[in-house]
Amino acid sequence: MLSIKNLHASVEGKEILKGINLEIKAGEVHAIMGPNGSGKSTLSQVLAGNEAFEVTEGEVTLNGDNLLDLETEERAREGIFLAFQYPVEIPGVSNLQFLRTAVNAMRKHRGEEEMNAAEFMKLAKEVSKQVDLDPAFLKRGVNEGFSGGEKKRNEIMQALLLQPKLAILDETDSGLDIDALQVVSNGVNALRAEDRAILMVTHYQRLLNHIVPDYVHVLAGGRIVKSGGRELALELEEKGYGWLGIKDEDTSN
């Protein structure tokens, strides 16, 4: 489904990704782990199309089509979804309006009829229950005044509504207490499907107890330095990144 070959990317002239190679097939769940500053978030942002990052070399294809040629919104319509590490607060745009606009943009792209307000409200209420968000949140500004956990649940809610082909979860576990982690994990597990791939980016392996990956990759210094099965995550948990000769500059967060 997703094929990344020799991907190099920089931000403000500084190279962060230094040749990433990764193949993800439909139905698979991959986890990318690595210390802070290894390029995990950069990879997520580059795949989603953040223009602050410049791709200097390499290629990325989604089902054979060149992803890097597409605008951010086109990537989303082709099925790329990024759950943000830091979801953005947008006062003045209601969550409901935001979600309906997004869902209808997708439907329009697929040649389907747009949902009216009443139809969408019904759908949104169902999905909000799935991530244990009070439907009252739909009326509030996008992420406005949401707690960290509520923001992350709102991200997963969006994934459930938009039904992407590839869901990229950037540090979705950060800032969650154990109950919220359980709710978010249930949401992600509900996304698992034969025709969908999931790429999780995380510093810690605790998320992987809840969402069990098929493959684990270790990212360091802008390259994938080791790949394996889920046992690799457990080994990292036990031995730390130092075991692979990687300096973990900051493990405090």
Binding site: A48, G49, N50, E51, A52, E71, T72, E73, R75, A76, R77, F81, L82, F84, P87, V88, I90, P91, G92, V93, Q97, F98, T101, A102, A105, M106, H109, G141, V142, Q158, L162
Partner: protein, 427 residues
């Protein structure tokens, strides 16, 4: 034709003489006082950012000819339609309710006209509102609205000013509202135009609120690209009165609104909301001034400017807390959104505080659309154009939603949608 450095005497020549004697006398008196009025320049403090947009040529001095054309604005409630400030009785629907009178100045008897002549202009600081003085020398068909004690107008009253700029000229609409004790009303002033000759619309609206009166004033300025609009609104508030203002303005070659509120009775409250949108080479200048004269008064002011292309918006907000106005509570907030590198916004808070036990907060910001927010929206498949529209609308949504008359919200939204269509192109 060249611009005039001094106000041309032609601008002080009224067309008609069909007013009661005391009002004619007032006009003459004001005209005489203005004989040597200099035109504002960039050295005139209150016109610093805007004088360059003021382009009055002598042929614009003539009163625009009376026309009669039904208004295109579809509004519910009571309405008075003025075509080039001439009364269109056929298209108007006057309130017919006990305790409430709506009269044209020309219909007043001598006593009422005499009483009115004493009050006209009393709500405004003459030095700061030069063009209101010109209006006082030129008005033809003013409206006097009187609400008796406890009178409550059951529906909003729309005053629709339709300017037909079929040739160069000017109009001087005038409204005076006397709101009696505990009376209530919602007044909507709408300024629209057609035609493409150069016109000056110079308006004055005054409100006197007796104890406990509760007035909502809505002002919608959306005239065309050849109309220079200069308006002044003066408000005097007595004890426990409440004034709420919603000004929605779209830019033009020159747009100026002075809003001056004096809180003269204890417990008076005023809330001023404003939204301005400019594009192309348009201009809009809002000057507001709130005088806390009495103690225990509240004022809350929220203005938002959005400037696209090479347009220019100005906000000047003055709060003056007088020495005896203890326990005043004043909050002024002005946020500005630049949608292009060529746009300009000037914002200036002016606080003068002479009492020691007051709460006075102010804030002003100027920014652009947040790229992180745009990325968040487009990463969900929302088109870039729509993301820009959502975020721009988010900037003013709260103020638009507060406008208590649906027809005004709809009219403003339709005009905003045109603005978005012209400002944000599909990628």
């Amino acid at each position: 034709m060249k611009s005039v450095p001094m106000l041309s005497g032609a601008f002080l020549q009224p067309a008609g003489q069909s007013l009661p004697e005391p009002l004619l006398a007032l006009r003459n008196e004001r005209a005489a006082a203005l004989a040597d009025m200099p035109m504002p320049t960039r050295k005139t403090e209150n016109w610093k950012y805007s004088s360059k947009y003021l382009k009055l040529t002598e042929d614009m001095a003539a009163t625009l000819p009376a026309t009669e054309k039904a208004s295109n604005l579809d509004v519910p409630g009571y309405r008075i339609v003025l075509n080039n400030d001439a009364i269109n009785r056929a298209d108007s629907q006057y309130p017919d309710q006990g305790g409430i009178s709506v009269q044209h100045f020309s219909d007043l008897d001598a006593d009422d006209a005499s009483a009115l002549a004493q009050k006209l202009g009393s709500t405004l600081d003459a030095e700061q509102t030069q063009f209101a003085q010109i209006n006082s020398a030129r008005f033809e068909n003013g409206l006097l609205i009187r609400l008796g004690a406890n009178a409550v107008l059951d529906k909003p009253l729309f005053i629709i000013h339709e300017t037909a700029a079929t040739r160069n000229g000017s109009a001087f609409p005038r409204i005076f509202v006397e709101a009696g004790t505990n009376s209530q009303m919602t007044l909507v002033e709408a300024y629209v135009s057609e035609g493409d000759s150069a016109a000056l619309v110079d308006t004055v609206t005054e409100f006197q609120l007796a104890d406990g009166a509760n007035i909502t004033s809505i002002r919608l300025t959306m005239e065309g690209e050849t109309v220079q609009h200069i308006g002044a609104t003066g408000v005097l508030q007595q004890r426990n009165s409440r004034f709420e203002s919603h000004c929605v303005g779209f830019g033009g070659p020159l747009r100026r609104h002075d809003l001056q509120v004096r809180l003269e009775g204890e417990g008076a409250e005023t809330k001023l909301n404003g939204v301005v949108v400019t594009q192309g080479k348009q201009h809009y200048d809002n000057h507001t001034s709130i005088d806390h004269v009495a103690a225990h008064c509240n004022s809350e002011e929220t203005y938002r400017n959005i400037a696209a292309d090479q347009s220019h918006a100005v906000f000047n907000g003055r709060i003056h807390i007088h020495q005896d106005a203890q326990k005043s509570n004043a909050d002024m907030n002005n946020k500005n959104l630049l949608l292009s590198n060529g746009a300009e916004i000037d914002t200036k808070p002016e606080l003068e505080i002479y009492a020691d036990d007051v709460k006075c907060a102010h804030g002003a910001t100027i920014g652009q659309l947040d790229e992180t927010s745009v990325f968040y929206l487009v990463s969900r498949g929302i088109g870039r154009r729509q993301a820009n529209v959502l975020l721009t609308m988010a900037f003013i949504n709260e103020l638009v939603e507060q406008i208590p008359v649906e027809a005004v919200r709809d009219t403003a939204q339709a005009r905003l949608n045109d603005f978005f269509d012209q400002t944000f192109q599909e990628a």
